[in-house]
Subunit: 157 residues, 2 copies
DNA sequence: CGGTATCCCATTTGATACTG
DNA sequence: CAGTATCAAATGGGATACCG
């Protein structure tokens, strides 16, 4: 395996996966969304090896997904919490959860509800600016401003 | 590493990641969304080793994310295409792409637009049934019908 | 073209022990 | 409690060669 995760990929998904694509990483992030803040709680909830957890947390902090808060009355470095960048993973976490629920076997282990009403949240959908759901065939892929030559050739001028 | 990817996880995200969480897998799926159908095209677009690509495609087929279509005039097994289960990964792919664009450096390599209008698609959001965007603090996690004892203890009765 | 079979090595993982 | 250090074993990845 090379050191760079996905070499030569000009792709936003590859870029995202270089940050959250490692094994265990998204489960650590999920735990953070569930409110877990302490090393030992991550460890217990995930059943992950300590060194791996340590590595994942450190990387998530280094990459700006998690931050640390010092806690009064505790000498340790402090709790982990989602940064704005981390909280912005919310749609990804929810989309994964919903897909897992729809296509996995068994009932959903957790429900995500609107706090105010108690209603289940809506299924994640790709929509137009006006909010209309878009199927795959209703969208087109075009080269963006950051497209390299290969991309431009591929998706038309 | 154990054989089971994420042992003892009662979690929809873990279930999803057991299918699409392996290295390269989501990039293969992305390619499928971009319209790639043939082994050699995946290979060229991704710069992935043949054996790894072979493995990922086989697993995606085995897990129902991709299907194969026989192509007339070609003796080979046939093209790969997204199944309904695969197409349902659309929100995940788009959410990852948008997050990578927002938080990565550099301009977006590709744009996803509504075919009819040419407008960019909307950012993925977690919403209520009525379509109102929900922030993290506006939702609650509750044990679902498939929750095990630990889950129930954790998220309240 | 579309793979499969082999080989080798870098990485990763998890267990255990240890430390402030 | 919150990690770091060490280590053996498994795995994953890429390269190459081969095949229908």
């Amino acid at each position: 395996m090379r050191h760079v995760e996905f070499p030569d990929q000009t792709c936003s998904i590859a870029r995202a996966l270089e940050i959250v694509g490692e094994r265990w990483t998204l489960l650590v992030v999920r735990e953070a969304f569930f409110g877990t803040r302490r090393f030992g709680d991550f460890e217990a909830a995930l059943g992950i090896a300590k060194n791996v957890l340590s590595d994942r947390l450190a990387k998530l902090v280094a990459r700006g997904v998690l931050g640390r808060t010092s806690v009064v009355g505790r000498g340790n470095p402090g709790d982990y919490h989602l940064t704005a960048k981390g909280k912005d993973l919310f749609p990804i976490i929810i989309a994964l959860m919903q897909w897992g629920d729809r296509w996995g076997d068994g009932e959903p282990p957790v429900r995500v509800v609107e706090r105010a009403s108690g209603d289940e949240i809506a299924p994640m959908r790709v929509t137009s600016q006006e909010g209309a759901a878009l199927a795959l065939r209703e969208v087109a892929i075009l080269p963006g401003p950051g497209a390299d030559e290969a991309m431009r050739r591929r998706f038309g001028a």
